[in-house]
């Protein structure tokens, strides 16, 4: 007997993500799902962002890692609520893990919640966590072939931050090629070039964030 079904494989996750989204809307929190490969600079970006916008937004952070609390310790500072999720092997965060972490956060006291996903260019993008948008970080030392190799993450992200621009003289990374191919995959993608080390471009990123939080 053949039974036609037609169901989304990830419907259970999508249901929980929708509940998360409702909670975020209820409390007026703007939520970013920060995605990149390992070592692109997600935690450093968080440190710079929290410091740079101190006094303007109340930040919450959910750190996703397979192991350790290294990132949560780096981001922790007065007035910032941090929750560490250790996936214990899973290569991504999903809606249910975020739902569990929300019990440890007072959403009513937050303006912006940034979820630092597990460093991985494939899996995190499959699982909706209820965020407003995905922000992708790509560092120039990873190479400019990433859009063609990992198209889905470029397709699903609202903003691409090209990081470590200070390293450009030392690596073979063609910014124009990378921009062109990223926009080919996602014509709506916004792109900002930054260096978390020198601070170049961070003002544009802060402006982008202010604008999006204003629209929430």
């Amino acid at each position: 007997m053949k039974i036609p079904v037609v169901k989304k494989v990830l419907e259970a996750n999508e249901r929980i993500a929708e509940e998360n989204r409702r909670l975020f809307a209820e409390h007026g929190v703007f939520v970013i799902n920060l995605v990149s490969g390992p070592g692109a600079g997600k935690t450093t970006l968080l440190e710079r962002t929290i410091k740079g916008l101190k006094g303007q937004f109340r930040f919450g952070v959910i750190e996703g890692d397979i192991q350790s609390t290294v990132d949560a310790e780096r981001v922790a500072s007065p007035g910032v609520s941090v929750v560490q999720i250790n996936t214990g092997g899973a290569c991504h965060l999903d809606g249910n893990m975020i739902r569990g972490a929300l019990d440890k956060l007072d959403l009513g006291r937050l303006d912006v919640l940034i979820v630092e996903n597990v460093g991985n260019l494939v899996c995190p993008v499959e699982f909706d966590i209820g965020e407003h948008c995905k922000v992708m970080l790509l560092s120039v030392s990873e190479g400019d072939d990433k859009p063609l190799k990992y198209p889905l993450i470029f397709h699903e992200s609202r903003l691409l931050l090209i990081n470590k621009m200070d390293l450009l003289p030392y690596v073979d990374f063609n910014v124009e090629k990378s921009r062109r191919e990223s926009l080919k995959i996602n014509p709506h993608l916004e792109i900002i070039e930054i260096s978390c080390k020198t601070g170049d471009g961070l003002t544009s990123w802060f402006d982008w964030l202010r604008e999006k939080v204003g629209e929430r």
């Binding site: 037609v6 990830l10 899973a90 889905l152």
Partner: protein, 113 residues
Amino acid sequence: MHELSIAQNIIDIVCDQMRIHNLSRVESVSLRIGLMRCVVVESLSFSFDVLTSGSPLEGAHLEVEEVPVRGRCMGCGQEFPLKNWMDDCPLCREARVEIISGKELDIVAIEGD
């Protein structure tokens, strides 16, 4: 290794359907998976076999139809297959192309008795 999580989600849905339709055995599960999902079918089947071993689903196999990526020109609206991500519109040469299929991840049928 998102294949492992995806396999677990498939199993949860199939178990629900087995209850609903009173099935005691499942022969196959048909899936449609878009190529943008970067799902490695061999790895998905392997994960599915490992997770179903010793359960009522043991022995069931996955039949995967891979859905090619298609785009729609943002200039003239022409729809066409995207072989690689760099294709321009074959009709008007517009460079901006929106992806309209290739992200599917659906169960479409379950065969069993």
